[in-house]
Symmetry: C2
Subunit: 413 residues, 2 copies
């Protein structure tokens, strides 16, 4: 990308754009910076409303050198629909659901990997790995297949079977890990130099956050740049929420937004609530979650989000909050959404449940305009048995030992 730069979200250190850099030496994640005046001029010359109905309509705000050669499967520009019944029941002025499950591979993760894999391809990289609670694994698998990269995905043992199956079908080398997502991430970090993997995990490279940013760009454009009051987002690693916030900040700086940024609300499930706990403790710094996780195997089960401090800062800066809901509330919310004809992933239902809770507490008020994100397709989470042939590992040493007999551990190639 020409004329861009990177600025650390932690220490504000600024360097010229470099697609190969992920995190700052301070541990903060790097944000890609753009010449926004130039973007604005380009949007004026070629109006957004006449552009292709994919997230690549915003190519000037994505760091890919050759957007016309991007690795694309038709991602983004997903529908945003109102739920009039619940607007009435909850006395809201507007209630929208952004249906991001209608992406390739049935989840919002398509956005991040379309950009990330495009960037890797531009750099000539051909091996990429990701630790995932599920949807990132299958999305990487699909985009890597499309871009002809070799993909390696590492998921927790209890990752939904259908999503694991999907990853394998798209041809990713797929491994189950005795542990949680950070244990999966450690395997990649430990093995990357020997194996030649690029780690495309949350906050490890620039593309995924930028891709997820398009959720915010679309939200704005689909609402004619009139900001809602509140935005609720299921928060695991948090890069979706960070991406949306970054997008709205860029549009604000370009002078395109009407109204203040919405209040950002992070939603988690009881049993793994690092963001909720630290937000309400008032602490300034993010500390790893010390309790045992007992929540469900979904995208929001991330005990130690790599950019936790940034999430807290966004919630506070926008006057938002963080909230945890329990299994009973989630099941109830899923049922409510389904009876509106809307596929409700656990993550989408978590968000809907938190809306109900926050209306009750008064954190969301009558007459407000609210946006929910449904990040994945419900059907991906049905309990589905996996063949026992999928290799299970606990650490990189085990991976290295087992890979000696490659035939046994690549169930689908």
């Amino acid at each position: 990308m020409k004329d861009g730069w990177l600025v650390c979200s932690g220490c504000s250190y600024k360097i010229p754009y470099d697609a190969g850099i992920g995190q700052c030496t301070c541990g903060g994640i790097f944000f890609v910076g753009y010449d926004l005046e130039r973007v604005k001029a380009s949007w004026a010359a070629s109006p957004l409303r006449e552009r292709a109905s994919t997230m690549w309509r915003y190519h000037e705000l994505l760091p890919v050198e050759h957007p016309e050669e991007a690795v694309t499967l038709g991602e983004g520009w997903t529908p945003m629909i109102r739920i009039p019944d619940w607007e009435e029941k909850l006395s809201l002025n507007r209630l929208w659901v952004k249906r991001d499950e209608q992406n390739p591979t049935g989840s919002f993760k398509a956005r991040g990997f379309s950009v990330a894999v495009s960037l890797l391809k531009e750099r000539g990289i051909n091996k990429v790995a990701v630790p995932s609670n599920g949807n990132a694994a299958s999305a990487l698998a699909a985009y890597a297949a499309r871009g002809k990269l070799e993909a390696f995905v590492f998921v927790p043992m209890d990752c939904p079977g259908i999503i694991v199956e999907e990853s394998m079908r798209y041809g990713a080398k797929t491994y189950r890990v005795n542990g949680l997502i950070h244990d999966a991430g450690k395997i990649i970090e430990d093995g990357k130099s020997s194996e030649g993997w690029i780690n495309a995990g949350t906050a490890k490279e620039l593309g995924r956050l930028e891709g997820k940013k398009t959720m915010g760009l679309e939200l704005a454009e689909q609402l004619s740049f009139e900001m809602p009051d509140v935005l609720l987002y299921p928060t695991g690693g948090g890069s979706g929420l960070i991406g949306i916030w970054k997008a709205l900040c860029e549009l604000k700086e370009m002078g395109l937004l009407h109204g203040d940024l919405p209040r950002f609300v992070s939603v988690q499930e009881v049993g793994c609530t690092p963001v909720v706990d630290i937000f309400h403790s008032g602490a300034k710094d993010f500390v790893p979650y010390s309790e045992d996780t007992t929540s469900s195997p979904t995208g929001v089960r991330v005990p130690n989000p790599p950019a936790g401090g940034l999430i807290l800062s966004i919630l506070r800066k926008t006057g938002g909050t963080a909230v945890a809901v329990d299994q009973r509330e989630i099941r109830q919310a899923q049922n409510y959404m389904e009876h509106q004809g809307i596929s409700a992933s656990p993550e989408g239902a978590i968000v809907f449940a938190s809306l109900l809770r926050l209306r009750e507490t008064g954190d969301i008020r009558a007459g407000e305009r609210v946006v929910l994100y449904n990040t994945a397709h419900a059907l991906k989470y049905l309990e589905w048995p996996l063949p026992s042939s999928i290799p299970v590992i606990s650490n990189y040493r085990e991976y290295a030992a087992k890979i000696a007999n490659a035939q046994q551990i690549t169930p689908q190639e």
Copy 2:
């Protein structure tokens, strides 16, 4: 709808538009007729390219009275992507896949039911039933939920479990039928007067065909109205194919298409090939399939499509053909598509397999421009066990007897 009419596709009998009419007395299906000059003027005044990214951008060509009140979940305007690797391998000028699995409920059936349920709602109807091989059941379930109609769906015993689960989650009263889709249809026909059901089965009402028509309108607009050479479509009841053809005829009459209509190709699976058999026999009339069906439980397993004669006529008029592929070819094609990162429903894979076959036979030639339709999401077809509590019936008499104890047979309400 004002100023519209109905014309029988069988005998050309023409009557004023009436939303309550499905089939002509001759057995032919009625087509909705529009004042195309008026549509053209309306599109000139408000250009398509500036409209909402749903199939309702074509509301002037849909028979709904109040499109602004349509029962919508964000359907249509799905991506169409190229597969450059296979363009090269097959020496094609262009190879596109229309990704219609990226619709609400993960299939193209969303289109038909968005219109059908909207029409039923306008008529004040509150009970609707459908016989289905699966995707129509879950799509009706979702749109009926959204429109607050009561939905009854009847599927064959071996209907994919995940789709049955989906129907129930959206709140449809769901029944498994000892038999095939026409046996399911007979239950509805036999019971409709006693139960107050409207039969929304293929060719029974006007909305579904008109909704599916938007696949053709989008194809045209997404290709800048330049027609491809060949269009391959998985053919069960055939209303998708008929809808696309009707759309292109309307656009042609409006003077908007460049080039001839593409050659339409119907694709079926070995083991249930009524269209293929009769097409190649050269017979003029459609006769019910007399052999035992041995094909898979997918959308193309329809031994006796209600508008079979019309399908034959479209294939012949456009210089197309009909082709059947077997399980081995389908599995191979599924694998090819997945390794391009594309979700491949059995129906989508059937189409891809038939492309390979027709390139080999020379029916599709080097340098041609080809469009494939992927009508549903692959994950919906994973083998998934259903609870034994779902009622199984063989005929309407059994339904009527069992419904006496409503609690036992409505697994989800």
